[in-house]
Symmetry: C3
Subunit: 324 residues, 3 copies
């Protein structure tokens, strides 16, 4: 085992890591977040150098237990597991026994009893991963629990910022769009603030409440007003497929006020960094020229996503082995 | 190869094993069932000790060909195959060419022609696995054919009984619930009787016919009456999702007469063993306190399921290699 | 690496291979097609000898990006990838973010950014693979683009002809059935003509236009007329599930005029070879006695499909590595 770790410059398993689960960035310290990002960078470099099999988790079995569809997050986790030599099994809720009236805990316990070490769960109910963490011996990774948290998304966003800008502390990061329903927003806020960034949440008043100040962030209803002083823009997805009322009169109206386009780009700092968790709606959150321009790091986010998930699975594997 | 087998204490491939397929427990002798269970115990121990890769079937490709949804049985087989180093491919009928009018035999022959050694089939028509066995050179495993047989489920139930009680012979085992539509019931009956157990089928008269006596089992319409003399209760799932008439007035009525609860538990032998093939309906076949209590072996059944399937795949691999 | 290649007699990676993508047989030369077939034969032999893992692509990750359902083509590609040691991930469009308004290019770029080397794409719009090839650094394999091309199907058909007859040059090959909507027909035509075969397209006048002459093939509306002089019949699938008008009055009418049956078989050359890309409609394109008879090579086509895809993935892996 140590050979593969040495070969890519990973170092020994960090004895200071004490978490059995990754439920949210709220629970992590700045040092812990930094540790994950540091290890993710090692894995990213190894992958880019052509190391497609780093056999650190040969004895680990992961299951993606997704109660909401998300092909790309699931594939990102699966690839991360496989690159580390772990087995990765997909348990899709839509074709499963859940329609047969089984509880979520029973389903998860069944999966665990088959010999699973890590359960990666997505569910529309906030707290589902926490519930499983209390009831399983396996490690639990929150891959999105309703509007609550999506910690690996937060981590990959922050990794991309740190990579592009060299640091996170002191930066002003604006999260733009549907803040109210966004687990990505919450995970970003927790992580960014712990690392010393200033965070602004920005969007229509129907989606951005003054109460966000309670989380220690600034809020704004005008993108144009904040544009000149932000270092990073994270353009959250408008989730048309969700069934929430009508937070704005029309898509055109939203794009008119909040879409990043060439005109708005001209008003930003020269080294503005633009992020967007996919899938993007071209012409809604941002225009194609911005999405494909040099300020955009959208595809780096995707690459970093696999690396972050490799780091998380590797760090959790210690606890997964201990419980045997 | 032998090294991996030796390492876990598996012993040589048993020359006395002569089956090319696993179609049902009806076809197996007591010795053959015992052989499978013995090998399954070896595999279980190895897995619990952290052996996640036992490379005995590196040259074997398995396909799960499921014409009925069953995420958990499919995953159990897939995990069993992968733990042995085999390739495992899922062929889901719902997204396949079957809607295009192809026959089941043609579909299976196509899968076989791609280089498949073992076809694991589930179909709602009894005898489908037997039909494939007659038409394929590959080995066929019955993963459930309508209400007929589900041999690996029977084996994992019996393995759990033997493990908990030390033996099967002489025990009184009651199968409770929807006997009429249950392949699990049939496979249990064949296996248990061959190993010398006394079997009672118990449930509402709409689901338990006196004709079951023809299989050499006792029948009863009253759980309360048989409770004091049973050693094992196997509480079969009430399959609400099936389209069979209305065998009882209401779920509440069923639970009133047949659900295992604390009150009924008090009437049983002290060392009663309670099984239930998942997914369970809490409050229908059994109450949560019974499901999660010390008499219940529900999750051990799941763990044993992977081990039994490893044993079956390993035993069938001999024939799979011979046909090359 | 070279050891595995030597062991099966594959030889060195051919320096003359210059393609980064496989978009269609129209783009390949006769020499290139022959090279693929030669390598496919090596892989086929190795597989039949029990080599289930030929670790030539351990550092390659393939994704099947299918916007149309096709379990069997997808599994054939997946098996080909796995037999070579590559990772293979399925990205199913129906459960993906595509319903969320993302463009095909963005989806593919996301998959690529996760560390994918080869994207195997099926889409109902002709030219989709070409669009991706222009926009990705990954290698693209066309697994069917509408009625345009399906090059690996063409290759496996031609491989089967060459295997059974020893050569392709000088043979008369008739493609029978729904020529108008068939990508298989187009790929066969390009490949067969390059290798020197004479091609006849045959079917009802609603599905076979005189304009096919422009591709250098003969056309005929009467199967009975051409039967005595063809060496190979490739009976294309009538795709009832497609939503194209009603090209013939009834299935019975079609079968009456175009189904290969014993009577028609008696009018052919003695060594006639009969192909049919599955899934077949027994009694429509051909009768069961013909499908299962000695002239039929239907299941060999399936076996050859895996071998051809192994050869294609291996040949494309050179470019996939270069772009790193």
């Amino acid at each position: 085992m140590s050979t593969a770790a040495e070969q890519i410059g990973l170092g020994a398993y960090p004895s200071e890591w004490r978490h059995r689960h990754l439920l949210g960035l709220e629970e992590l310290s700045a040092d812990e977040i930094t540790l994950i990002l540091d290890k993710a960078e090692v894995f990213k470099r190894a992958i880019l150098q052509g190391h497609r099999r780093i056999p650190l988790l040969n004895d680990i079995t992961c299951v993606t237990l997704f109660f909401e569809n998300s092909t790309r997050t699931r594939i990102s986790f699966s690839l991360a597991a496989r690159r580390l030599g772990a087995d990765s099994i997909d348990f899709s809720a839509s074709t499963s026994s859940l329609s047969k009236g089984e509880t979520v805990i029973d389903t998860a316990k069944n999966i665990e009893a088959m010999g699973t070490d890590v359960v990666i769960v997505r569910h529309r109910t906030p707290g589902t991963p926490h519930l499983l963490a209390q009831n399983l011996r396996a490690s639990v990774v929150n891959a999105g629990d309703g509007p609550h948290e999506h910690p690996t998304q937060g981590l990959l966003d922050i990794m991309t910022i740190r990579e592009r800008r060299g640091h996170v502390e002191g930066l002003t990061v604006a999260l733009v769009g549907d803040i109210a329903h966004s687990r990505t927003a919450r995970s970003n806020i927790w992580g960014l603030k712990k690392l010393g960034a200033h965070v602004i949440v920005c969007g229509p008043s129907t989606l951005v409440s003054p109460r966000w100040k309670e989380l220690g962030v600034e809020y704004s209803w005008s993108l144009d007003e904040i544009l000149p002083r932000v270092d990073v823009l994270n353009l959250l997805r408008i989730q048309f497929e969700r069934q929430y009322g009508r937070p704005f009169p029309s898509v055109r109206e939203y794009a008119h006020l909040y879409a990043m386009n060439a005109e708005r780009l001209a008003k930003t700092k020269d080294d503005i960094l633009i992020l967007a968790p996919g899938p993007i709606n071209r012409g809604v959150e941002l225009t194609p020229d911005v999405a494909d321009g040099s300020h955009s790091a959208i595809l780096e986010q995707v690459t970093n996503g696999v690396a972050v998930r490799m780091a998380v699975l590797w760090l959790l594997s210690g606890a997964a082995r201990d419980k045997r």
